[in-house]
């Protein structure tokens, strides 16, 4: 599968995750979000930066529990809640945020 | 002259001992995979006991993967994959200890 961003074709897997993580850019993130019927707000971006930092540090995309914890540590306890992340990234926040952030699909994630 | 390769971690100390006892004058020993852990100074005594002149090598990528670059015994010469090939070519046989 491919995703076309500003005339460039980018390869994604069957579920929409980037095949090559180096293809990611903020524009690509917006395109992935758009394909998921999401418009990215500053609140989304704050969380996306947290999940990208997590990946840099720990070299894997987090499951929901550590994702919530990481957001809480970085953005404050009021943001480190499943319900908050569910409003930003409906359905499965850890998977959806990872996808938009250009990370692999989280393993160990239910 | 033979190149001996060892890929077993120190937990399998019998493999290291068997390998070291089989070395002849002029042979080379190259530690690869988990075998590079046997380059830690804790195992120096095993190499001290070798009666013949041999050369000791350890594979660079395997050392780096396990965080051993600064921990290994200095007697080990670090080689990359190309160096591994060179060693294999320079010796008339390769003996694998695994």
């Amino acid at each position: 599968m491919t995703l076309v961003v500003e005339g460039t074709s980018i390869e994604v897997d069957d579920e929409g995750y980037l095949v090559s993580l180096s293809d990611w850019s903020e524009t690509v993130a917006e395109a992935i979000a758009h394909s998921e019927q999401l418009e990215l707000t500053p609140e989304h971006w704050a969380v996306l930066n947290v999940i990208r930092d997590f990946y840099q540090t720990f070299e894997h995309a987090p499951a929901m529990r550590p994702f919530v914890k990481a957001v809480g540590q970085a953005l404050g306890a009021d943001k480190g809640k499943s319900i908050y992340l569910m409003t930003l990234f409906p359905g499965s926040p850890a998977k959806l945020a990872a996808k938009i952030a250009g990370l692999p699909k989280p393993t160990n994630c239910l | 002259m033979a190149l001996h390769t060892l890929n077993q971690p120190p937990g399998n100390i019998e493999c290291l001992k068997r390998c070291l006892s089989a070395l002849s004058e002029g042979d080379a020993l190259l530690l690869i995979e988990d075998g590079v852990l046997a380059s830690l100074p804790a195992y120096a005594a095993h190499y001290d006991q070798i009666k013949v002149n041999i050369s000791l090598y350890a594979l660079q990528a395997d050392l780096a993967a396990r965080g051993l670059n600064d921990l290994k015994d200095n007697r080990f010469i670090v080689v990359d994959d190309g160096g591994f090939v060179d060693l294999a070519c320079e010796h008339d046989k390769v003996v694998s200890w695994y």
């Binding site: 720990f58 499951a63 550590p66 160990n108 | 120190p10 988990d34 830690l40 804790a42 993967a65």
Partner: protein, 121 residues
């Protein structure tokens, strides 16, 4: 809901040469997702997993050390290391990247007794 079983994972293998260390971590993280109480003991060649500064890209593997660093994020903080194994391999407690409580043989026996399920890797 009945009390969750306490799980002890015993790591006895060196990282990378075999898949044991990776498999063990997958089990630990999965148990963490289920909020099961997990303890991890590193013994024998398993203590080599606690050495830091891994650069595993050149052997085509993921950096186990970075993944281990994430354990606290999964609320897994009961980490133990066998003192005798550290001594055998000439490793000092200070040389380890990941901190773990040192246990002697008697304490390890007690640790096993204190858990409902013990998985060895």
């Amino acid at each position: 809901m009945p009390d969750k079983k306490k799980v002890l994972i015993i790591n006895r293998r060196a990282p990378y040469g075999r898949s044991n260390a990776r498999d063990s971590l997958d089990v630990a993280l999965t148990c963490g997702v289920f909020e099961m109480p997990i303890s991890i003991l590193f013994a024998d060649d398993g203590v080599f997993q606690l050495i830091g500064n891994h650069q595993a890209g050149d052997i085509g593997q993921k950096n186990l050390s970075a993944n281990l660093a994430a354990l606290p994020m999964y609320d897994i903080d009961q980490l133990f290391v066998c003192t005798e194994s550290l001594n055998t391999h000439g490793l000092t407690f200070d040389s380890l990247e990941h901190s773990a409580t040192q246990l002697d043989q008697t304490a390890i026996q007690q640790l096993i007794q204190d858990h409902d399920v013990v998985l060895t890797f």
